[in-house]
């Protein structure tokens, strides 16, 4: 069974890259969102275990998103992804998922 990962970032081109790189691992399935509304709506549709916060998310949005996700699934892991679809991505996910 695949691990569902929600990826949120304001830069659509970088977001696509991150989603593609996550999906390169056949154990992971990524869904991308550029807006808070899209992210919150998507969160209700799939059993996301991990949320990656990417570029351009201001602190206010981050607080809103964290509260919304935790209200639906208190066990969801939410982390900052650094580097923009870089060589750090796999290690961040492995570490977050334990």
């Amino acid at each position: 069974m695949k691990t569902h990962i929600l990826v949120i970032g304001r830069n659509a081109e970088i977001l696509q890259t991150v989603v593609r790189l996550v999906n390169n691992n056949d154990q992971w399935e990524a869904t991308g969102a550029t807006t808070d509304n899209d992210a919150i709506n998507a969160f209700g549709t799939q059993p996301f275990k991990l949320v990656l916060l990417c570029n351009g998310i201001d602190p206010e949005s981050e607080d809103t998103l964290r509260a919304a996700f935790k209200a639906v699934n208190p066990d969801v892991v939410i982390i900052q992804h650094y580097g923009g679809g870089s060589g750090l991505l796999a290690a961040e996910i492995y570490q977050a998922l334990g």
Binding site: N11, N55, G83
Partner: protein, 238 residues
């Protein structure tokens, strides 16, 4: 009490892609070691060799301070801010990826490989405006003394980054020794030996070894042979 961690060169992660041969001091790409995730704000230290005429195609970055230090050969940089530049041995390049940037790095020389260090620091603030900087250094300024090549201050020596970090390069003759005083409380220093053997306090290091030292105000570094090294002072909490 002073704390330290030793990363022998042979214990680094390794990736060989034909055109790229890379040694990773910390987890990167397909190399994942939970014990080697970062040293404070220092997240990536890649020791890269790019074959002649090859390179990294256009790819994105965000929210990371990226420093390149060429050791041999020339590397062409192009980015989405319309910067086009060649960095060569003796130069240092710093890029704040911030809200997002695309760039490529190529070894345009058809005959000679390029070797360079790719270093990434976590930024001290997220989503900054992307920026790029590159300078040429005077190699004599590191002969038997420490040459500052990076700081957090645009007015200080070297390039600057969005992090409370200082980098120094040294090229010491055998027997030369100096003290390093840590600039900011709570910072540690990751020593990376480029060539030769050095001793940090009582710890002997060989070529391409890494050694992190923290919870101290200062340490001594001495050249056991003719040696070149890089000192990276970074916050341990960030």
């Amino acid at each position: 009490m002073t704390q330290s961690v030793l990363h022998k060169a042979a214990t680094r992660g390794h990736a060989s892609h034909g055109w790229l041969n890379s040694y990773h001091s910390f987890s990167f790409g397909s190399y994942y070691n939970p014990e080697r995730m970062h040293f404070g704000a220092l997240r990536v230290l890649n020791d890269d060799t790019v074959e002649a005429g090859m390179g990294f195609g256009k790819h994105p970055h965000d929210n990371m301070e990226i420093i390149s230090i060429p050791l041999e050969g020339d590397l062409e940089h192009k980015d989405s801010m319309n910067n086009v530049a060649v960095i060569k041995n003796g130069d240092i390049q710093a890029m704040s990826a911030g809200t997002g940037i695309y760039h490529s790095e190529y070894n345009k020389n058809r005959e000679h490989r390029v070797k360079f260090l790719q270093i990434w620091l976590y930024p001290d603030k997220k989503n900054v405006e992307p920026r790029y900087d590159q300078i040429s250094l005077n190699l004599e300024d590191r002969h038997n003394k420490l040459q500052q090549v990076l700081s957090p201050d645009p007015e200080d020596e070297g390039v600057w980054v969005h992090q409370n970090a200082w980098f120094h390069l040294g090229k010491f003759d055998k027997g030369v020794s100096t003290a390093y005083n840590i600039r900011a409380k709570g910072n540690g220093v990751y020593v990376f030996v480029l060539t030769g053997d050095v001793k940090v306090n009582d710890q002997v290091l060989n070529t391409r070894d890494g050694y992190g030292i923290w919870d101290t105000d200062k340490f001594t570094i001495s050249a056991e042979t003719d040696a070149e090294f890089l000192l990276m002072e970074v916050p341990m909490e960030f």
